[in-house]
């Protein structure tokens, strides 16, 4: 399995280092049928085989077989991959090219270390800021100040981050109007309303609390209205997705270990998140910690994780009290929801259950929006092309609201819609459900 950590294994595979390498089985599994090709945004952009899932797995295989060093080009492909996982959905053979590339990102830091400034910057972001919610919020003492500081940071380190030419304008334009972070405001326990149906732990993601506090406020309100006690542990740390994304699997493991213990101790029936990226990452703890944590604990943790739409659809939405919302909507599927977690049906079910809502399907709903964590900033030109394809499909629906379910997509789409002068509002599914939920 790609996600499995090979740190305990002494012998290395070909030209990979021993730690955090793909297994030979992972790359041998690909029989090169090419079913992944038409689903890959970077192959659609370039038409270049090495920028396709099949090509990337073949490169990894060549490294594994000692036919190729872990070269600069392999590293480039590892980071050019959007990690959208559309290829995983498309692959009948069960190859997970996205995960192989994620592990290759870790390899690239081992084999092609950054220079001093790059290292310390990466260390600062991934190992100091993100794992420490207090520090994250302190840098947000004044929202406006953060907005300026955030930009200054990026300015100072643009070369190190290898950001694309138009990144600054875009980064500035993408930031929503910031409110105070949600984490300090949410009570540890928000009690259920009406007939109680259970107790859920709410995993509040970093981007949600910092950039979309109103969305997660609605998530908690909806959960409570649906009859669930909502426990939001203040000590929740970053899920580790940015670390996996940047190839820092060590820190990701430490964060995973912390969150695992925290939520298991909270004794909840389910652990729910409204961030598709966090959900995908939480569901991968089982593999990430396979060599470190108690197997039973991992299985128990994994069995409780739900995306909010998955959860509400599973327990059944109580619709009796919902207020009608007379709007037409279209739904963009976040990659980390539909491809990484296989959740496509549930958000649509919920949308159809809101009285007054008309759901208009867009073409290629599950095609990436081009955000993909920092990819949209690193490859701003390519990201723009991926975004345009998405916006064309949005436009054709003529819907009032563009719904999605992940903060990364929401940032990118809100910005794109504004830049393109499209009339659509962009909302998280939970904002819409919140609007239908009575006070």
């Amino acid at each position: 399995m790609a996600g499995k950590d090979k740190q305990a294994k002494p012998d290395k595979l070909g030209n990979f280092t021993a730690q955090d390498a793909p297994s030979y089985e992972d790359v041998l599994q690909c029989m090169r049928c090419g079913f992944c090709l038409p689903t890959c945004p970077t192959f659609a952009l370039t038409g270049r085989e090495r920028s396709s899932p099949r090509g990337r797995v073949a490169l990894a295989r060549a490294v594994a077989e000692g036919k190729l060093d872990f070269t600069e080009a392999v590293k480039e492909e590892a980071f050019f991959c959007l990690d959208c996982r559309a290829c995983t959905t498309a692959c009948p053979s069960g190859v997970r090219a996205g995960e192989v590339m994620e592990v290759c990102r870790s390899q690239s830091h081992q084999q092609q270390p950054l220079g001093h400034i790059g290292k310390s910057f990466r260390h600062f972001i991934l190992q100091r800021m993100l794992p420490d919610p207090d520090l994250l919020e302190k840098s947000l003492l004044s929202a406006r100040l953060y907005q300026r500081l955030g930009i200054q940071w990026l300015v100072r380190h643009s070369k190190v981050m290898k950001l694309g030419p138009a990144w600054m304008e875009k980064a500035e334009g993408m930031l929503p109007d910031l409110e105070a972070p949600l984490r300090p405001q949410l009570p540890e326990l928000t009690p259920a309303r009406g007939e109680k149906r259970g107790k859920v732990g709410f995993f509040l993601g970093c981007i949600m609390t910092l950039m979309y506090p109103e969305v997660s406020r609605q998530t908690v309100r909806v959960l409570s209205h649906q009859g669930f006690d909502v426990v939001t542990p203040k000590a929740t740390k970053c899920c580790g997705a940015p670390h996996l994304n940047e190839g820092d699997r060590q820190t990701a493991r430490a964060l995973a270990q912390h969150n695992l213990n925290l939520f298991l101790a909270a004794d909840v029936d389910y652990i729910v998140t409204d961030c598709a990226g966090c959900g995908a990452s939480l569901k991968e703890y089982e593999e990430l910690l396979a060599d470190e944590a108690d197997h039973a604990k991992l299985v128990s943790f994994r069995s409780k994780i739900r995306d909010i739409s998955e959860f509400l659809s599973e327990v059944g939405l109580r619709t009796a009290e919902l207020k009608p919302v007379k709007r037409s909507v279209t739904y963009h599927e976040p990659c980390h929801l539909c491809h990484a977690q296989g959740i496509s049906r549930q958000p649509r079910e919920l949308l159809r259950q809101i009285p007054g809502i008309e759901l208009r399907e867009m073409k290629e709903a599950s095609w990436c929006c081009g955000s993909a964590a920092t990819w949209g900033l690193k490859f701003s030109e390519e990201s723009q092309q991926v975004l345009e394809r998405k916006l064309n499909n949005v436009k054709q629906t003529g819907a009032d609201i563009l719904i999605t379910a992940n903060p990364g997509c929401q940032l990118q789409l809100a910005w794109g819609v504004r830049e393109a002068g499209l009339p659509q509002e962009v909302q998280h599914l939970m904002e819409l459900l919140g609007a239908a939920t009575p006070d």
Partner: protein
């Protein structure tokens, strides 16, 4: 590594972006879907017009570079693998549909157009391009023509060859020939078009293709029949044909295939059954009703365990889509999937299944069989591990013995995948030294210097 001047002249003719020679690019342009075959080219070019193909061929010829054409690399016999190195001519950027002629019912497109894109484009105009190889979402028209690809609808609608009306083709010396046209009848001289179809890139490089279109069927009915024994499924196929019913599709999957496909698609296929048949009849509603009744009756007569009818077009499409994943889904089970393309006269189908079962046991292998049962075209697939030498030897012995019998029954070693590298020896057995000698003379006439896709179909004189 290629000499600098050759690289420079290619760049001058095609542009910097269209010429690729980095190791990492070469590594991923020397394979297709055929297991175990891989060879590095020296350079890869991406022409975007017929003129650029001509220019690339002229440069290659000047420098005696072998030329191997490539579409999406989904071939199953190694046709696009550059076993002699040289230049890979990647045609997937020549992907424009040039014309859909609604008066003559034809479509003309560049060689790199993806099969399903053409299907969708003509469907929008109420027309139908039937050939649908398993990889239609990825494969290119050029590749389909070069390998004469079949598909799920082959039984009633035929294969790629049956739809090719005209070809534009660049010869190894860079000259251009056009053959065929939009006239439905054409007996002027030798049928070059028919010679080029299925020639696997050994005679010329196809750059433009005109295909025949037909009106789509007005109605269809899709059945899924389950069987306790695979032989009964074989008998059902023969009986349906003998009853003069020609379904558009009659596909088979054995137990191993059913389980692998179900692991992927999760649509509730019957895991415990020995085989299933996916049958579709289409055409005028009155005919569909009559044929559907006939199919259902025969399925019951032969003793199918269960017969289901797809409730709507969506369900029918999801069943066909599931079937298309069969080969790739079988790859879940083992690192290596060796697939063959044996085709027998349809009356021999039940015997062929019995033979496959016997040989599977004899050589102690795991085999998943699926295929176009209605065409007598089966894909027995050995699920193995290329690192296990003994197992690989047994797998080859399995195919040797299988093909010997298939040929004795008047069958063929390739129904639709082509000969490529993988089946040169089997072809020689099928057509004999006389047949090979004629093929070589034809090759000589088109490509006297032997630079086009060398090492394919038959062994070269030096080998």
């Amino acid at each position: 590594m290629l000499d600098k001047p050759i690289l420079e002249s290619l760049i001058q003719a095609l542009g910097t972006k269209a010429v690729v020679s980095e190791t990492e690019d070469l590594l991923v342009l020397g394979y297709d879907s055929t297991p175990g075959l891989h060879h590095l080219p020296d350079v890869v070019v991406y022409p975007t017009s017929t003129e650029q193909v001509q220019a690339a061929l002229q440069i290659a010829r000047q420098h005696r570079l072998p030329i191997t054409p490539r579409g999406s690399g989904t071939g199953l016999s190694g046709g696009s693998i550059p076993i002699k190195g040289g230049m890979v001519l990647c045609l997937n950027k020549m992907n424009r549909i040039l014309e859909i002629d609604e008066e003559n019912l034809t479509a003309t497109c560049q060689a790199g157009v993806v099969t399903l894109d053409l299907f969708n484009a003509v469907a929008e105009k109420g027309l139908f391009y039937p050939p649908d190889p398993g990889s239609q979402k990825i494969s290119t028209l050029g590749g389909n023509v070069m390998e004469d690809a079949g598909g799920l609808r082959g039984l009633k609608y035929g294969v790629t060859r049956d739809y090719v009306m005209a070809l534009k083709c660049v010869l190894p010396d860079g000259s251009l020939i056009s053959t065929g046209g939009k006239s439905v009848k054409d007996v002027a001289g030798y049928a070059f078009k028919d010679l080029l179809v299925g020639s696997e890139g050994t005679l010329g490089i196809i750059t433009e293709i005109t295909v025949k279109l037909i009106p789509p069927p007005q109605d269809k009915r899709t059945f899924l029949a389950y069987f306790d024994e695979i032989r009964i499924a074989g008998a059902a196929v023969s009986k349906i044909i003998a009853a003069k019913i020609i379904p558009s599709t009659m596909e088979i999957m054995d137990k191993a295939t059913i389980n692998c496909v179900e692991d992927y698609v999760k649509i509730g296929l019957p895991r415990q059954m020995a085989a299933l048949l996916l049958i579709e009849v289409d055409g005028h509603p009155a005919m569909v009703a009559e044929e559907a009744e006939g199919v259902e009756r025969i399925l019951k007569e032969v003793g199918a365990a269960e017969v289901h009818v797809a409730k709507d077009a969506e369900e029918a499409a999801s069943l066909a889509a599931a079937r298309r994943t069969a080969l790739s889904a079988l790859a879940r089970v083992s690192p290596t999937t060796l697939l063959e393309d044996a085709t027998v006269p349809r009356s021999m189908l039940a015997e062929t299944f019995t033979l496959i079962e016997r040989l599977t046991e004899k050589y102690r292998l795991t085999v998943g069989t699926f295929g176009h049962a209605g065409d007598g075209n089966l894909h027995p697939t050995v699920l193995c591990d290329e690192r296990n030498e003994d197992e690989m030897q047994r797998a080859h012995a399995f195919y040797d013995e299988l093909y010997e019998q298939v040929l004795a029954w008047g069958g063929t070693v390739s129904g639709e995948h082509g000969i490529g590298i993988a089946k040169k020896d089997y072809l020689a057995r099928q057509i004999g030294p006389g047949g090979v000698a004629v093929m070589k003379r034809i090759k000589q006439a088109f490509d006297p210097e032997g630079i086009l896709n060398p090492g394919k179909i038959f062994a070269g004189d030096q080998e």
